[in-house]
């Protein structure tokens, strides 16, 4: 493999370019109009435009991307996550074009992409699944028939879209009278989001944790699982902080979960990097297969930190036919503890509203135990069209306590000016007693946020306000001084705001 096209953008494209460079492989970026000057375009060896800003006109255009890959002579395509990463047609189109897709075959993507088919795979592989209906319930199955199935499963239960993901097309049903409404809601949401209104029922596991197992599979049937990731801290079914290992998983349970995950992947001849998600019951013993993500996960760096394994390099090595040489006894032994915070361009104090725009200043933390996988830089713009995640901040420590302390410090060093970010939320989150004691389940954060009723995460204290008053007054003094206003012509206008910037203060330099 000599040249890899990365069919993605942002931090994950940058991550893959780095792996290519580490391996001496030429990297090819693709870009939409607004991404002409994005970090991944600047870092790659080659870069090609693929269309307009909406993803449907560029990053989701299989035809255009395959065309570019063919013309530029790429012999591999890395889909990243999101966009086309779990699209079996894209995997098939790569195969048809004679280009290696860095992920599983279209058949495996399709099979594991259907929640009901994936459940069947898991059951056949001997993995526990949440009790539920066996197949998909298509649009024409009457509610009465579904109600009967529901009785046999028992309440509370979940109505889930077969094609679902990210919490969409999903309803909790506490009692029989809620069932019809839930079916209607889930079906219409699923039809709108995925073009498929088929649903299925599952028993609801209360106060469960979301625990997932990363794995790699080579082309020769070897599957190696890694130490589990704890992803229970979710806001509206979106992970916000991940860590590994889970404080709730004992070494004995780890062996059971990782074996179950490996068996599932092995049974479908899984190749490349993938992740099996489980629900862990509050008893800390019973776990249930939830779904498989047939791609690299956002949170893969925490696994890299505790295993020392470069997962993206292995995706490439597997695709070019190498055998997995990792010792599975070692990959499930965590070396220390790692935590990831997803740094998102959003305003946590305004209901987590996305906050795209121009980044006028950016300082990323570094130092011992800190890794920042970013996709942007000072002077860049976070576009309005895509996922607002700007970087993933990862902290490693010998213990969970040390990793947490380093993460707190790194968050306090992070400086982003021009847009709002999730950093205040993360700083608040890490100080919650439930985080410190690792006592949370997947419903914890939404419950807590509801209770807080939008209270600011990092309210300014009296001392902060006093400093702000001083700074406001000083900036006025300096702005008004004849000496500084002359220098002020050097101030570069930002979009809607302007920096009280260096030029005015040149005179204050010692």
């Amino acid at each position: 493999m000599k040249k890899i096209l990365i069919a993605n953008r942002g931090e994950i494209a940058v991550r893959v370019i780095r792996a290519c460079r580490d391996m001496g492989i030429t990297s090819v970026a693709v870009y939409s109009e607004c991404d002409r000057v994005a970090r991944h375009v600047r870092m790659a060896d080659e870069a090609y435009p693929i269309g307009g800003n909406p993803p449907g006109e560029s990053y989701l255009r299989i035809d255009t991307i395959i065309d570019v890959a063919r013309k530029c002579g790429a012999d591999g395509v890395h889909p990243g996550y999101g966009f086309l990463s779990e699209n079996e047609d894209f995997s098939a189109a790569c195969r048809d074009a004679g280009i290696k897709f860095l992920g599983p075959s279209p058949e495996v993507i399709e099979r594991m992409g259907s929640k009901t088919a994936a459940r069947e795979v898991a059951m056949k592989a001997g993995a526990p699944v949440v009790p539920g209906t066996e197949g998909a319930l298509a649009a024409d199955v009457p509610d009465a028939a579904i109600a009967k199935l529901a009785e046999s499963i028992g309440y509370p239960l979940m109505v889930k879209a077969v094609a679902g993901g990210g919490g969409k097309g999903m309803r909790v049903v506490m009692s029989p009278d809620e069932l019809s409404g839930a079916i209607r809601g889930a079906r219409s949401e699923a039809a709108a989001s995925f073009g498929d209104s088929a649903i299925f029922l599952e028993r609801r596991i209360g106060r469960a944790r979301h625990i997932e197992v990363q794995l790699l599979g080579d082309q020769y049937g070897t599957v190696v699982p890694f130490v589990e990731r704890e992803c229970s801290l979710q806001r509206r079914h979106q992970k916000v902080i991940e860590e590994t290992p889970s404080s709730k998983v004992s070494p004995e349970l780890r062996v059971r979960m990782t074996s179950a995950a490996a068996n599932i992947a092995r049974s479908v001849g899984y190749t490349g990097a993938g992740t099996i998600e489980f629900l862990l019951d509050e008893d800390g013993e019973s776990f249930y297969f939830l779904e498989m993500n047939t791609r690299l996960q956002v949170e893969h760096p925490i696994t890299e930190m505790v295993s020392g394994v470069d997962l993206v390099q292995w995706q490439i090595r597997i695709a070019r036919g190498e055998k997995l040489t990792l010792d599975p006894a070692l990959t499930i032994q965590p070396n220390g503890h790692a935590i990831e915070c997803r740094i998102i361009a959003e305003d946590p104090d305004a209901g987590f509203m996305p906050s795209p725009g121009h980044i006028s200043a950016l300082r990323v933390p570094t130092g011992p135990g800190i890794r920042d996988d970013g996709g942007t830089e000072p002077g860049a713009t976070v576009p309005i069209y895509y996922d607002p995640m700007i970087s993933k901040l990862v902290a490693w420590g010998q213990t969970r306590e040390q990793a947490t302390a380093r993460m707190r410090r790194a968050l306090s060093e992070y400086e982003v000016v021009g847009i709002k970010t999730s950093i205040p939320f993360h700083r608040w989150m890490l100080d919650q007693p439930e985080f410190e004691s690792a006592q949370f389940d997947t419903t914890y954060l939404d419950r807590l946020l509801k209770e807080r009723q939008g209270a600011p995460f990092m309210p300014a204290g009296d001392a902060d306000e006093e400093i702000a008053a001083i700074v406001a007054a000083l900036s006025t003094v300096i702005q008004g001084s004849p000496r500084s206003s002359e220098a002020a012509s050097g101030v570069r206008p930002a979009r809607t705001s302007r920096w009280v910037s260096q030029a005015r203060f040149e005179g204050l330099r010692s």
Binding site: P54, A192, R236, Q238, E346, A350, G351, F352, M353, P354, P356, S360, A361, R363, I384, Y385, Y386, D387, P388, L411, S412, E415, V417, G418, I423, P424, R427, G454, P459, A460, G461, D464, E465, E466, I467, A468, A469, I470, V471, A472, A473, L474, S475, T476, V477, I478, G480, S481, T496, S497, R498, W499, V500, S501, Q502, R504, F505, L508, R509, S510
Partner: protein
């Protein structure tokens, strides 16, 4: 020079005296020495209390802060300090130097238009015409940038018009709901 600075609905009176490269500042009577230097648009601010004339050897901590300041077109300043964002408006300089471009922001009156901040899809409409809404109450949920975002009323009022239906695709700046 004396400035009235409005922060979070409270007015702080700040007196500033310049001594060459450093300043003496007093906030509501709390006097401190301030030193300011700027690199790459970010301030380094050192603050220390005034020496105690009775005990000149007393420990006077000189605290170090990194501060960023962004000025909106309205003149409102956003001060980044200790990871917090504090909005501050200087109400008027009383000294010899005139403050340029000082105007108070538009007052909070008239109908509120709740607009889509970015292109997206309307997932839920939470109110209908005639409903009474409280300040900060959610009115519409728009999916954009892969997230569901609840748009809220800034102030309490009555819904005058809902201009979009669930499932509609909206452009940035589209008016979704009008509240009076």
């Amino acid at each position: 020079m004396i400035y009235d600075v409005d922060i979070n609905g409270r007015t702080r009176r700040v007196a500033v005296t310049r001594h060459g490269q450093s300043f003496e500042v007093s906030v509501d009577g709390h006097a401190q020495a301030a030193s300011v230097s700027v690199v790459n648009g970010v301030w380094s601010l050192l603050l220390s209390d005034r020496p105690d004339a009775g005990n000149p050897d007393a420990h006077i901590p000189q605290r170090s802060y990194e501060v960023a300041v962004v000025e909106a077109a309205s003149g409102e300043l956003t001060v980044h300090v200790n990871g917090r964002l504090v909005s501050a408006t200087v109400a008027g300089a009383r000294g010899s130097w005139a403050r340029r471009g000082h105007e108070a922001g538009a007052s909070a009156k008239g109908p509120q238009k709740i607009v889509a901040p970015m292109p997206g899809k309307v997932i839920k409409v939470l109110v209908k015409a005639g409903d009474t809404v409280a300040a900060k109450q959610g009115v519409v949920v728009v999916e954009a940038m892969k997230m569901e975002n609840e748009l809220r009323a800034a102030r309490a009022g009555t819904v005058k018009e809902v201009k979009v239906a669930e499932g509609a695709t909206v452009e940035a700046g589209s008016v979704l709901v009008i509240v009076e």
